[in-house]
């Protein structure tokens, strides 16, 4: 806004004259008045004009200062306005750019979230799949997974959550499923509750035959496994074949001896254990699976379980030997002893002889039991002279018997031979 000088009428600059022109007129009047004053004091016209101008000072500077007084505010206002407008424009641009960036970021973030959501959905689906009820499926086979064990009973044993009793180390629990394998040897427990389980299968010979009377061990126990809720199917495969054998034979031991007119039957007893004492310390009426333990079996899983209540044992008449039993290949501890069964008095056992044996698949460990020293009949005859009663007589003879067990590993399997002793 330019300054508009007020005037009293005819002498003022005409309307529309700029403030610059008014200022110029004012300065011109000043210079003319000063020069006229100087001329009246005797200065020449030129000198008077020069002196007037010199005393006035820098005309241009004065004009600039006056212009600024009148127009600086407008100029500043305009400048500030332009600056503000520029800032506003820049701000709008920045905000616009920021908004664009924000939108881009939001779009990108939205895409990321969508991907994460999709991933989460996949994970949730996977979790839902995993949260199926627990089941046990598996394959029972004979030596090789390509040879299925068809139509055999598989039992699913659930361990009790109660701690094992003090009576032994065998587990308590129940058989929750009795299954039969299909033509491919497969089995499926169906839905189970969460808990600790193992699978029990029958021990079989290489031809797939199982005979309760032919095995010192009758079943196999799989590795225990804990099924949590939502774990889904767990797989347990079992090789049911006992691919090694023990054959027992005796020399010079009769089936029966007669003492003081009383017949005393003689038997050879073989007790087999594996993996230490674990499976023979239990006092269950039936063979039970081994309690899950932090210490796995030395020879690993599956673990053979005895067919009888307390021991994997067999009692044979000497005449029935040699006799062979199929066993899973692993380390065994064997004890052999003679047992005397009088007609009317309790049985008397000889001291057992221990044999450590490692069975190898496809091989037979041939164990021959013999007496060291005098024949059995001679021992009884000698004892009859010392004892009147049969019980101390048997005890004396049994204590004096020292058995010998000779082990030979046979590369080729030989068929068991059964004696046909009439006793």
């Amino acid at each position: 806004m330019s300054q508009s000088f007020a005037s009293d009428g005819g002498a003022e600059p005409r309307d529309g004259t700029s403030s610059d022109e008014q200022l110029a007129a004012e300065i011109a009047d000043h210079l003319a008045a000063a020069a006229g004053d100087l001329k009246r004091r005797g200065e020449a016209e030129d000198e008077a004009a020069r002196l007037a101008l010199a005393r006035f000072g820098d005309v241009a500077l004065v004009k600039r200062q006056c212009w600024w007084i009148h127009n600086g505010e407008d100029f500043m206002f305009r400048t500030v306005g332009i600056a503000l407008l520029s800032l506003l424009t820049i701000g709008v641009a920045v905000v616009g750019f920021g908004a664009w960036r924000l939108q881009s970021t939001l779009t990108s973030r939205t895409e990321e979230l969508s991907e994460q959501l999709a991933s989460l959905t996949t994970t949730q689906q996977a979790m839902l799949v995993q949260q199926r009820p627990p089941e046990i499926t598996g394959l029972a086979y004979l030596g090789d997974p390509s040879t299925p064990a068809k139509d055999v009973e598989i039992r699913v044993f659930r361990f009790s959550e109660e701690p094992a009793s003090d009576m032994g180390k065998s587990a308590t629990g129940v058989v929750t499923r009795r299954l039969r394998t299909d033509a491919l040897g497969r089995f499926d427990s169906g839905i189970l509750q969460a808990g600790e389980y193992c699978v029990l299968g029958p021990l079989m010979d290489p031809e797939g035959k199982a005979s309760e009377h032919e095995f010192l061990f009758s079943q196999l126990q799989s590795r225990p496994l804990y099924l949590t809720a939502g774990v889904g199917k767990s797989t347990v495969d079992l090789d049911l074949v006992a691919s090694a054998r023990i054959r027992l034979s005796v020399t010079d031991i009769p089936n029966v001896v007669t003492i003081a007119g009383e017949e005393v039957r003689v038997f050879v007893q073989i007790l087999v254990s594996t993996d230490g004492v674990r499976i023979f310390e239990h006092m269950q009426s039936r063979p039970q699976p081994v309690q899950p333990s932090d210490e796995p079996p030395r020879d690993g899983w599956p673990l053979p379980l005895p067919k009888s209540s307390r021991f994997a044992s067999a009692v044979q008449r000497p005449a029935d030997l040699p006799r062979a039993w199929w066993l899973p290949p692993r380390d065994y501890s064997i004890e052999l002893r003679l047992s005397f069964f009088p007609t009317n008095t309790p049985v008397i056992h000889t001291k057992p002889i221990p044999i450590a044996l490692k069975l190898i698949p496809g091989r037979t460990a041939a164990i021959t039991v013999s007496l060291l020293g005098d024949p059995l009949e001679n021992r009884f005859i000698a004892a009859e002279k010392k004892f009147e009663n049969i019980q101390p007589l048997l005890k004396s003879v049994a204590d004096g018997i020292e058995l010998n067990g000779a082990v030979a590993m046979e590369e080729r399997e030989t068929l068991p031979v059964r004696n046909t002793d009439p006793h």
Partner: protein
């Protein structure tokens, strides 16, 4: 006496208002009045008068009118306004107190303060 521009700048406006109030009305006349009142010590550069006049005109202390000089030139005349009178009175009081304080500090005992 050499003029300190800072001192002159603070005192010039009240001086101009005082002289305009006592009759000086246009530029050169005002300059002559200042020089006479100051014994030629002030406004040695006569042009410095005009920014001060225009500033006070803009503030409303002075009102300007254009007339024709006896020589026939356009001439701008200034008159003191009521706002200018009040400003002049305030300036007198301030200046008296200020100069008294400065004089006391600087050890000047005799100060001639002209107040009307």
């Amino acid at each position: 006496m050499a003029q300190n521009p800072d001192l002159v700048r603070g005192a010039l406006e009240p001086i101009l208002l005082e002289l305009i109030g006592t009759g000086a009305s246009y530029g050169y006349e005002i300059v002559r009045a200042v020089q006479q009142a100051s014994n030629g010590e002030l406004l040695t550069q006569e042009g410095t008068l005009y920014p001060a006049l225009h500033r006070m005109e803009k503030r409303g202390y002075l009102r300007a009118t254009w007339k024709t000089s006896p020589e026939g030139r356009k001439r701008k005349h200034y008159q003191l306004t009521g706002e200018g009178c009040r400003y002049l009175e305030a300036s007198r009081t301030e200046w008296a107190a200020f100069s008294k304080t400065v004089s006391r500090i600087l050890g000047i005992t005799h100060v001639a303060v002209v107040c009307q």
